[in-house]
């Protein structure tokens, strides 16, 4: 904006004194920015593009050197194979396990967070202790968990994975939701109490709508954690509830590697997350407390 000011200040000559648009500072700055953005986009989007094009290439194109940047046609053979062999079951497994564990983690985590935030349950440091649980590297506990699961017969079951992911996500949910809940003006809840709500109604009618955008943001992260997990799924599943990251490893054979299947499975595995983030983007960025409090 400031680029136009000097030319306008040039005096009564007015527009006659302005430089042609391609020489103006503003145009040049904008062009510089666009080039930088284009470069960054290329850098970050190329791997995704590459992942996608491999899934629609013919085997010859995949192995050709120099690489084929733009494939000739749209070969869906890899996708068809995934569906015909029933390998897409892995996507369904991932979806189910990640969704259920996300819902459970949000449910329990938010209630815990409310208790921590409003009733000071466990003192002020309990929240920190809980989030520290999340910092344990999964690999450190996965074998004890595996032995435990062998004993109770939970290996290769949905509930096994769901319980594991929920356990791992609850501390994160508690930590995030505690922050969102602390941001709610206490008077909103007190006003509801005086107006005729009990504590449970306050939670449902005031706290929940107030933290809704925070809840969605947290949900995206917990879902992605479960969705992307490899270590737990690799150890505690066999073949019945194989999730898609584990399924992908099955395509690395001793003799050959099925790049088209790997890439097709990866595309199928990326889509749900991208769709979810796209749909929830509105909530991820919106501030909900506007207007509640003058300030």
């Amino acid at each position: 904006m400031s680029g136009t000011t000097p030319s306008r200040a040039a005096g009564p000559a007015g527009f006659a004194g302005r430089k042609p648009w391609w020489q103006r500072d503003r145009t040049r700055r904008m062009a510089g920015r666009l080039i930088a953005v284009a470069f960054l986009l290329l850098f970050f989007l190329f791997p995704i593009y590459w992942l996608f094009v491999i899934s629609i290439k013919t085997p010859d194109e995949i192995y050709s050197s120099p690489p084929v940047w733009i494939p000739d046609g749209f070969h869906l053979d890899a996708y068809i194979a995934l569906f015909e062999d029933g390998d897409v079951q892995a996507i369904w497994n991932s979806l189910l396990v990640a969704s259920v564990s996300t819902v459970l983690a949000l449910l329990f985590g938010t209630m815990c967070a409310y208790s921590l935030a409003r009733y000071r349950t466990g003192g002020i440091h309990l929240g920190l202790w809980i989030i520290s649980q999340r910092m344990i590297p999964p690999i450190a506990i996965v074998f004890p968990v595996f032995l435990l699961y062998v004993m109770v017969g939970w290996v290769d079951t949905y509930r096994g994975l769901i319980v594991l992911y929920t356990t791992f996500n609850v501390p994160y949910v508690i930590w995030m939701m505690r922050g969102y809940i602390l941001d709610i003006p206490l008077e909103l809840e007190q006003s509801a109490l005086v107006d005729g709500c009990n504590h449970w109604q306050v939670f449902v009618k005031v706290v929940f709508p107030m933290v809704r955008s925070g809840l969605f943001a947290t949900a995206v992260f917990t879902f992605i954690f479960a969705w992307n997990d490899f270590v737990f799924a690799l150890i505690v599943t066999r073949d019945a509830v194989t999730t898609f990251p584990v399924q992908i490893t099955h395509y690395f054979g001793a003799q050959s590697t099925f790049w088209s299947k790997i890439s097709a499975m990866s595309v199928l595995g990326t889509l749900p997350v991208m769709i979810a983030v796209g749909l929830l983007q509105r909530f991820l960025v919106r501030g909900m407390t506007m207007g509640a409090i003058k300030g």
Partner: protein, 366 residues
């Protein structure tokens, strides 16, 4: 319609003893104002009445029923908060009707009552708006609307006007007063602003350090302050306190400012001051109880004092003239047409009928 009784109330905030033994009656249908400086315990008490704070000792009873262990929602009180406490995700209609929905009123009844309240508060055109689309004054009206639709037996206001700018505050103050005249319910109102207390209250309870300093009608507090604290808190500009010596004979007392200035006191019934003759006391005179001689003749009890003006502050409607007396700076409120100049020698008429004498040891009025 409710009668509120507070007996021997003690409240604690951590180690702080916020309310230190308050006994109080809030009569039916009256507008009672809790006023005092910040930290005097007024908001704490109000929140205890609503059930939002734990009580240390004592009882709070509404209509004779002890409320100590009753949940906020079962007390049938309504409360308006300082920051409005509107739900930002609900429009005005839903905000006003929130309490009715929580109490499971049927839809038609909610609609009827919300519209009635909106009409009373001039909010009918805003029922579809979200709180963030409203001005501060409108938000405060919505908060009041949410309280009045419930037909609660007791209304609590916690500094509802302190987030508004000066002009709006005056308007809303008038509206709240009018509202009380219309719905005639028991209201308890907390403020730190003595003007709000004076203009709104049928009764004022002045609190200090968790104790009731004085309670009564606005005029009782203004005319007969029990202590120096009340005398200085109520009234603006605040009362002048001048060190004097009580002299004269029993039945005809006078106050002496210095060797050659003294004013006679109207003799109070029963020789109230006699025991204090010869003592150093504080004379309390309000700025508005001093006049310029030119104005009118003298009445019994009005004494003439010659002063040297050293500061003049005109406000348009009034002029504040300051002068030194007995080592203290004293301010008088004069008519606007009487603008004196610095250095003027004025003959000031002091209405000793309305002056008070304070014992400096106890800070209580004699």
């Amino acid at each position: 319609m409710a009668h509120l009784s507070i007996n021997g109330l003690h409240m604690y905030y951590g180690d702080a003893h916020a309310v230190r033994g308050v006994d109080l009656e809030v009569p039916d249908d009256q507008f009672t104002v809790f006023v005092g400086p910040s930290g005097c315990g007024k908001s704490t008490m109000l929140r205890a009445i609503a059930g939002l704070e734990d009580i240390g000792a004592g009882t709070i009873a509404i209509d004779g029923e002890v409320m100590n262990d009753i949940r906020p929602r079962d007390r049938n009180v309504a409360m308006v908060f300082q920051n409005y406490a509107l739900y930002p995700y609900m429009n005005v209609f839903d905000n006003i009707g929130f309490g009715l929905r929580a109490r499971k009123f049927d839809k038609q009844e909610i609609g009827r009552r919300v519209h009635e309240a909106a009409q009373m508060l001039g909010l009918e055109d805003y029922l579809d708006r979200m709180p963030r689309q409203l001005s501060g004054g409108q938000r405060q009206r919505v908060a009041i609307g949410r309280a009045i639709v419930r037909n609660a037996r007791l209304f609590l206001f916690d500094e509802p006007l302190s987030n508004l700018d000066a002009q709006l505050r005056d308007d809303m103050r008038a509206e709240i007063k009018r509202l009380h005249q219309e719905i005639r319910q028991t209201m308890v109102y907390v403020t730190h602003d003595q003007i709000e207390a004076m203009t709104l209250g049928d009764r004022i309870v002045l609190l200090r350090d968790g104790l009731v300093e004085q309670e009564g009608t606005p005029f009782e507090l203004y005319d007969q302050p029990a202590t120096k604290f009340v005398a200085s808190f109520i009234g603006s500009p605040r009362m002048n306190f001048i060190p004097v010596e009580l002299v004269g004979d029993p039945g005809a007392p006078a106050v002496r400012f210095d060797a050659d200035t003294q004013l006679a006191l109207p003799s109070p019934g029963g020789g109230r001051y006699d025991a204090h003759i010869g003592r150093e006391l504080l004379l309390g005179v309000r700025p508005e109880h001093m006049r310029h001689t030119r104005e009118d003749g003298t009445r019994p009890g009005v004494e003439v004092l010659t002063v040297l003006v050293d500061l003049v502050q005109p406000t348009g409607s009034r002029v504040y003239a300051s002068f030194a007396l007995a080592g203290t700076e004293v301010m008088a409120e004069l008519e606007a047409r009487d603008v004196p100049s610095v250095g003027d020698r004025l003959e000031m008429l002091v209405d000793m009928n309305r002056a008070i004498l304070i014992d400096p040891d106890t800070e209580r009025t004699l």
